[in-house]
């Protein structure tokens, strides 16, 4: 995980920093291989525990009863092999970006996910941006006005959004902003029959972003506030003040930068949670993303797609964690990450 203080080495500069970053990147990529393998094995085994093969469901759904056809399908999907053989074949196929075939969408799994991916990425990015912006700003305000009305207001708001279920918050915002006030659309990603102009999509994006993002904004606010207060007591801050810098200058240039580190850490840890949270939010707002696809696949027991989403989702999380480690290194050059 990010940010284990190895030793207080002196700050690295220039090319030394670049090689350090490359070394970190290499080490992280090597560590990612067994991790990914674990993800695949665990989920593959989980899906093997399902009662009845998905072939039975598929043939029932499509009303195939001819034994010869069933046998052919059984062969095509490799269901005759022992489980470990199927697993090895699946891993081998994954290495070639082959996630299997989704009979429901009648297209390769990777293609089905690919179609739904942009909507989810858009929702995730906008929610995280909102959460970090609000969280950092509110945390800074609360810490600068500590123990005042503003501090209490921020803390109470953060507590409420931290406890409210996101799907419920979404529904309540639909009631207020869509049903009662009529300002924002109830759901979907664009107007029905619309061509999907940027403004139209943004208009549809506001409520899902708030519903998903405010929970994380609450977390970042709390972390940022306590982190700001902690850093503000360190010696170098007193030194900066003693040099004659103003309080605001010190806060922005010295305290803020260092106080951001814990926020960056949990941002990386929570990437998987944000992705998972978008499943629920997409269901509330009929957002046409991976979450909708997952929900549909889970309900219809379309396991190749479920497995594919898990594997790709974990890959996204690992990539995000590596990115976070690099950002961490850039923010705090003293830290040599293991």
């Amino acid at each position: 995980m990010a940010g284990e203080l190895a030793s207080p080495t002196p700050a690295l500069r220039g090319s030394a920093r670049r090689t350090a970053a490359l070394r970190l990147l290499r080490r992280r990529l090597i560590q990612a291989v067994p991790l990914m393998l674990g993800v695949v094995v665990i989920n593959f085994c989980l899906i093997q525990m399902a009662p009845g093969s998905f072939l039975e469901l598929m043939t029932a759904e499509n009303q195939v009863s001819d034994p010869a056809t069933v046998e052919l399908l059984r062969k095509t999907y490799g269901l005759e092999d022992p489980v470990w053989m199927q697993l090895l074949k699946y891993i081998w196929a994954l290495l070639h970006f082959d996630f299997g075939f989704s009979y429901r969408q009648n297209m390769p799994v990777i293609q089905a996910i690919w179609i739904h991916l942009p909507a989810t990425i858009l929702l995730m990015v906008s929610s995280i941006t909102l959460a970090v912006t609000i969280g950092v700003a509110a945390g800074v305000v609360a810490s600068m006005k500590v123990r005042t009305f503003w501090d209490s207001l921020v803390s109470i708001a953060a507590m409420f959004f931290y406890a409210a279920p996101s799907f419920w918050l979404g529904i309540m915002m639909i009631v207020l902003f869509s049903v009662k006030l009529g300002w924002l659309p109830v759901g979907g990603m664009m107007k029905i029959g619309g061509s999907g102009g940027v403004l139209d999509i943004l208009h549809h994006l506001i409520l899902p972003t708030l519903a998903l993002g405010l929970f994380y904004a609450a977390i970042y606010t709390r972390v940022m506030r306590s982190s700001m207060l902690e850093v503000a007591q360190l010696d170098f801050v007193r030194t900066a003040r003693a040099k004659g810098l103003s309080r605001n200058q010190v806060t922005i240039h010295h305290v803020l930068r260092n106080a951001l580190l814990p926020v960056v850490t949990i941002l990386g840890v929570q990437m998987g949670t944000v992705l998972a949270g978008s499943v629920v939010i997409e269901s509330v707002f009929s957002w046409p993303g991976v979450g909708s696809l997952l929900f549909d696949s889970v309900s219809s027991r379309n396991y190749p797609v479920v497995l594919g989403i898990m594997v790709l989702g974990s890959l996204v999380v690992i990539a995000a964690n590596i990115a976070v480690d690099l950002v961490y290194m850039w923010l705090d050059p003293r830290i040599e990450i293991r």
């Binding site: 995980m1 067994p34 991790l35 674990g38 993800v39 665990i42 989920n43 989980l46 899906i47 525990m49 399902a50 507590m159 409420f160 931290y162 406890a163 409210a164 279920p165 996101s166 799907f167 419920w168 529904i171 309540m172 639909i174 009631v175 049903v179 306590s226 207060l229 902690e230 840890v269 998987g272 949670t273 992705l275 998972a276 949270g277 499943v279 629920v280 269901s283 997952l294 929900f295 889970v298 309900s299 027991r301 479920v306 989403i309 898990m310 989702g313 974990s314 999380v317 690992i318």
Partner: protein, 279 residues
């Protein structure tokens, strides 16, 4: 003496005290649900879609079928709290077990355990829960186990850190030189000392588990025989244009419960670490 000090510190935290009282109310509601409302909460008892206050017989109104919302909330408290508690217990047992072994033995055992923790943090948690529940069946037990499986990692990390700092202390060395077995040292010597911060974390995991369960039930994948609060929100979703209170009320119940659990967790944390109190 020390225990009183601890209670005093906890009670001085007003938020935590209010939280603890409200949790007590919810718990009493759960325990005595059948005393207050002896009939099946899912039975139709009145006109459909009565707004709260419209009929004094149903203070919180009725839902689309004419079921008493107050009765469903009180009975739902039982399901919601039990799932939260048991899921947190599962997470704590796995987390303490893994963390204790990893921290005590170190070396490759530690390495394997921490990689496993990382693995479970990588898989998107709610997606994993939904898949487990769908594959193994939507029963209460499966939901509890599924939530426990995705929630143990922070507890394992915390337990491991505590064990790392305690395993080479004098009292442990004394036990070792007396020839005490590793198992006994872990369970009866180190664990009691490592437990307080773990308990705080477990109380926060209860809050998280309640949110997980409500999301699962909201999506319609919960146990069909249990009317938890999440499911009530999901049931009311179709009617938000005419009767949004059907959605709003169970959601408020979830929010208040989770909020109070968080307050209690924070309060316990402050009381256990008085030095950090003024952050």
């Amino acid at each position: 003496m020390q225990r009183f000090e601890f209670l005093g510190r906890f009670a001085r935290n007003r938020g935590a005290l209010v939280g603890a009282c409200l949790i007590l109310v919810v718990a009493l509601m759960a325990v005595f649900a059948s005393v207050f409302f002896p009939t099946d909460p899912l039975r139709i008892v009145g006109l459909p879609e009565l707004w709260p206050g419209e009929d004094p017989e149903f203070p919180l109104g009725t839902d689309s079928l004419g079921r008493d919302i107050l009765s469903m909330i009180v009975h739902g408290a039982r399901a919601t709290l039990l799932i939260g508690l048991f899921a947190s217990a599962v997470a704590t047992i796995i987390g303490v077990g893994v963390g204790a072994v990893a921290g005590y033995f170190g070396g490759w055992v530690d390495e394997v355990a921490m990689r496993a923790a990382e693995l479970f943090q990588t898989i998107p948690n709610l997606i994993f829960v939904l898949t487990i529940v769908v594959i193994l069946g939507s029963t209460l037990t499966n939901i509890v186990i599924a939530i426990g499986i995705v929630s143990w990692t922070p507890i394992a990390r915390m337990t491991r850190a505590e064990f790392l700092s305690l395993r080479d202390r004098e009292f442990v060395q004394a036990c070792r030189s007396m020839g005490m077995s590793d198992f006994r040292i872990i369970v009866s010597e180190i664990l009691p000392n490592a437990l307080p911060p773990v308990i705080v974390l477990s109380s926060l995991v209860v809050a998280g588990a309640i949110l997980f369960e409500s999301a699962v039930s909201f999506l319609g994948l919960g146990d069909p025989n249990v009317a938890s609060w999440g499911r009530l929100v999901g049931d009311g979703r179709q009617l938000i244009r005419s009767s949004w209170y059907i959605c709003a009320i169970p959601g408020i119940a979830i929010m208040i419960t989770v909020l109070c659990l968080n307050l209690v967790g924070d309060g316990l944390n402050d009381a256990l670490n008085p030095k950090l109190r003024d952050r």
